[in-house]
Structures are given as C-alpha cells and as structure tokens.
Amino acid sequence: MADSIITDRAKGAPLIAGFTEEGEDLSPLNLAASNLSPLGGDAAKEHSHGGGFGVADSSRAGRPSSFDPNDFPALTGREEDWRFTPLKRLKGLHSEALSAAAAPAIEVKVTEGNLELAVGVEQAAKSDARVGFLAPEDRVAANAFAAVETATVITVPAEADGDVIVASIHGGNDTPSAQHIVIIGEPGARATVVLDHSGLAVLSQNVEIDLKEGADLNVVTLQRWDDAAVHASDQQARIGRDAHLKHTAVSFGGDVVRVTPSARLSAQGGEAEMFGLYFADAGQHLEHRLFVDHAAPKCTSNVLYKGALQGEAAHAVWIGDVLIRKEATGTDSYEANKNLVLTDGARADSVPNLEIETGAIDGAGHSSTTGRFDDEHLFYLMARGIDEKTARRLVVRGFLNEIIQKIGVASIEEQLSEAIEAELAQTEN
C-alpha cells in the first residue's frame, strides 16, 4: 500500500539486545542488557512507551492497580494510557460518581445450541469471591467498581458444547453509569458468549472473564451504540491451565468507545486469541488497548486488530502491549494492527509494545500498518468493468472480512457483514 508505514519482525526472529524500534518497549531487564551494546542505552530509553505514573521506562507489569479510584491521580490527559483519549468527551466517567441504577439493562439468553442449557445468571455482591479477582488498572475502571454494589455473573457450565449465549446490553439514558459483569467458563466448557451493546449509554464497565482449566470461550463484545454513547470497557481475562480464550472486540457505534481487553496467561498451556474490528466515522473516537500478559510457560497468543476509518476527525487508537515474563518460557506470541484510511481527515494511531524478559521463547513478533486506500486496487477492479462504489466496497469488505471470519458463528458474522455494508453506504452519501 502506498504511504504505509510497516514495522515487522518475522515470527520467531531473535530479539537483539539494544535493538530499538518505534513503539517498542524495553523492559528494565532488556535495558540492563542493552547498556552493554553501543546501540542501546539512551536511544532505547527515548523510544520507550512504558506505562506507570511518571515512572520512566517502567514495565507494563508495573502499572498500578486498585479498586479505589482515589488511588489514581485525577486524569490530565498526559498519562501514557490516556494520552490519546479525549477526556472532555468522557462525560464525567473519569471524574464523577457513577450511577449503577442508570446502567444499561442486561438480558442473557442461549440463542444457539442447547437452548435448555443451564447457564447461571445471577447478581452477586461485589464482596463475592468470584467478583473482582483482577483489580482495575485505571481510574475510570476503578470508578466503576466503586459505584456498583453487585455484578452480573454469567456462568457457562462444564457441559456447554459450542452453545451461543447472548447478553443484550441495551441502554436508554445518558447518565454517567457503572456496570460489572463476570463471565465464568467452568472446566472444559466450550461456548460463545456475546456482549451485545446497543442504545444510548454513558458507561464505565468492568468485565471479568475467568476461564477454568481446559475451558474454551469465544467472547465477542459488540459496540454498536447510538451516536452519542460513551463507553469505557475494561475486559480482563484470567486464563487457566490449557484454557483457550478467543476474544473479539467489534466497535462501530458511539461517540467515544474505549475497550481495554487484557489476557492474563497465568497457567501453563493457555492460549489467547484477541481479535478486533472497528470502523471509525467522522468525529468518532474508537480506542482499543490490549494487554497480553505471558506469566506462565508454553502459552500462545495471537493478536490481530483491523480497522477502517472515514470522515473528518475520525480517530482510531490501537495499543498492543505484550509482556513475556521471565517465567514464560516457550511462549509463542504475535500481534498485528492494520488500518485502512478511506478518506482525508481521519487519523489512526497504532503502537505495538513488546517486552521480552526471557530468551527462551518460540517466537514473538509485531506488525503495524496504516495505509491509504490504494488507487492501483481501484484501477485494477474498474478496468474489469466494476464501478468505483462496488470496487471500494470489495476492497474494504475484503480487508475487514478476515476478522469477521474468525468469529466462527454464522449468525453474528452475517450481522457484522451487514453492519459493514451500512457503514460503507455512509461514505457514499
């Protein structure tokens, strides 16, 4: 693609101590090693995008977490993890007391497979051991935790075998609100859980996903809000031994949507696949911040987010933090983000951060590309009689289809294809 920036290291290629790349984070361990290299040292520090409150070069692992919003300083927009987010448009999610009562209603149903499946749906107090097993990592998420008394706990029973469970989350007001959802996959459970967000809401939401040993959950979070909605969703997953999480975030609607999914691979043999798809229109801010934490041996992770942007001040942000800790030997990890900018005036920020604290891994790589719509593609298709509109649709649809196909549930794939068609129809008007 013309005008594209590509950073790529082949899967399995060795990481060279002191080797720096834009967007790459070096852990303190690597920094220590890199000081030995003439290429390391200060140069490495300059390129670091490490998190933490004012602590230069701190590892992603060192980010503070707390259930109390007051443990986090008031946001200024200069923080590493908030620097792209328009705080003014958060409608107080970061600064005001939130209402649990005003949060969108949640309705859970088994829509495919065994419709009689005994899915547990209950309101559990936040003191319940199943709730709050992973502490919020930012002020907005902590603010939501402080505001709720109970969490909606959805328990997928062990006998689930490929069933589809849909939680419809529909909002009807713009009061700053808070919500907490816990999804538990019992040992060996195999199912798809869809969080389908629609309507109007100003919502800070915590979603915790707990995969027990051998569980295999396909979690799809759809953000198809009304235009004025504001949604911050912290979705943290704890992945048990030999468990498999496929997490797909799809963001189309809303004024500001900020999804921060994280996968904690804390037991051997876990696997995290994290996919995402977004379509940012004029004025929209769609942000996805990933964290894959390899904290146990022999885990694999694969991240792919693809986005299309169109219209004045359409803004997409993608941050992908991958941390491979010292104990995570035999890790195989890859992350990629691809953006397709369809019109002038849109902006995509894409930052992959890779921290590696052990050399004994199978592979780790990242890639980020942001490209314009390629006129040569258009010419080729039009030279075969295909009109410009159809040609553009073919290319964009093709680009985004790769993610849709990964969801693996035909009914959802169809709905998303339709949503993309609707987005495309918008450019043409």
Partner: protein
C-alpha cells in the same frame, strides 16, 4: 465488425520536473479479428499507450482522440471502457487482499455483461478456462493475485480475457517474465479468445519471441512516442535480426 481508432494521441505525465510528454502523436487503427504488434525499445511509450487506452489516471491526454466505433473513449470512466469491450492485460497485476478470485471474476463478469451469468454455466466456464491455462483449481478460492508468481499472474490475466470476451484486448508485455512453456500456454489462450470472439488484439512487446506463437497481421515500431515504421509480419523478422538500433540512431 468493430474498430478502435487512435488519432494523433498526445499523452504525458506529471513529474517533479513538471509535465513530461511521452506520446507525441500516435495514429493507429485496429479492426476486430486483427492482431497488431507494437514493438519498440524501453521507454518508447508502449506501456503508456496501453494504460491510456484503459484510462489509468496517471496519464494525462493533451491531444488527439481514441474512438471505439466512433464513440469517444477518452470521455468514458475506466469501468465504462471495460464495459464497452476494452480489456487491458496488465504488465504488473496488483494483489487485492481479502477478495477471492471467484468473487472477483463473478462480480466483473456481471458488471461487464450487465447481468449475472447463469451460475451453472459460469462455474463450468471458469473451471474449463482454468484447466486450459493450467491454473490450479485452488486459485479460485485464493485472493486476487495474492502470492501468485509472475507467471501465474499473467495466466490469470489471460483467464479474464477468455472469460470476459472483450472486443479489443491490449496485452501489455504479457510475455515478460514467462518461460517457454508458460509463454505457449498464454499464447494459446490469446489465440483461442481471438478465434472464438473475433477479438482485435494489440500486442505490446519488447521481444519478437511471443510472435512465434501469436501471429501479427501488422507490426508497428514505436520510437520516442510515435510510430516510426509499420509493416507486415516481415518487419518483426527484420527487428529480430537488426534490433532497434537503426531507429535509435535516427532519433
């Protein structure tokens, strides 16, 4: 019978140094059923002519006209030209991620014909054409040109030529980068399209090699943006012997 007329065509491109004229008044008339070879040294404007006929936005027409049965081709958009019966087999076909060959071929055929092809005969046609061009059936499910070798891309261009049945085909150095076997397969495809559809062919090439398999009725030698000499097939034989030196010396 259809006729493609190129009259005093002047074409340039915008460069950092300003407008650069490449075609300096080209005259050429092709009827359906005829094969014209356009030969010439690198940089003489052969590919510019091909891209201009197809309507590539990079090339700016500053004078002259292109007429298809009297209709002004230069006023048509790129897709309208294809629908009117013009086909360009590209020198460097681009890869289009996420769009399968099957989807692309059917979409293009529908656009060109103005109606969707009957599913049953279409599938059979595609399969048959692929077999004749020795294209692996797996290619149907792959994305357009993605990961295809140079030779495979050229074969897929000729596949489209056979399926879309244009009135006129412009082959832009289709022979470049092909080994002898692939050259034969591709040439057979062009000859089939010509026989079956009474197609007019504008064969752009640097080498005489392909003319052993595709027999031209007329040969035009392009030098410095215009036709320096034209003749019958014997002119190609002479070029084979002498090369382009005598034109370049004159220029």
């Amino acid at each position: 019978m259809s006729t493609l007329e190129i009259k005093d065509l002047k074409v340039g491109i915008e460069t950092e140094q300003g407008h650069k004229e490449i075609l300096k008044g080209v005259n050429l008339t092709i009827n359906t059923g005829e094969t014209h070879a356009i030969m010439g040294p690198n940089g003489s404007g052969k590919s510019t002519l091909a891209s201009t006929i197809a309507g590539h936005p990079r090339y700016i027409v500053t004078g002259g006209e292109i007429l298809l049965d009297g209709e002004n081709v230069l006023e048509m958009s790129v897709d309208e030209r294809a629908k009117a019966g013009l086909f360009l087999a590209m020198q460097y076909p681009v890869e289009i991620p996420g769009v399968t060959m099957t989807n692309f071929l059917r979409t293009a055929k529908t656009a060109i014909d103005g109606e969707a092809p009957s599913l049953r005969t279409w599938t059979k046609d595609v399969k048959g054409a692929m077999e004749k061009l020795r294209i692996d059936p797996d290619f149907a499910a792959r994305n357009v040109n993605e990961g295809f070798s140079g030779g495979e891309k050229k074969r897929v261009e000729i596949l489209q030529l056979e399926l879309f049945k244009p009135k006129f085909a412009v082959l832009d150095e289709t022979d470049s980068g092909l080994d002898v076997d692939a050259l034969k397969i591709v040439s057979e495809g062009v000859n089939r399209a010509q026989e079956e559809n009474d197609m007019g062919t504008l064969l752009i090439t640097h080498y005489t090699r392909i003319l052993r398999y595709i027999k031209p009725d007329f040969v035009h030698v392009f030098v410095d943006g215009h036709v320096a000499e034209q003749g019958g097939p014997e002119l190609a034989d002479r070029l084979e012997e002498e090369g382009y030196d005598r034109y370049l010396a004159k220029a």
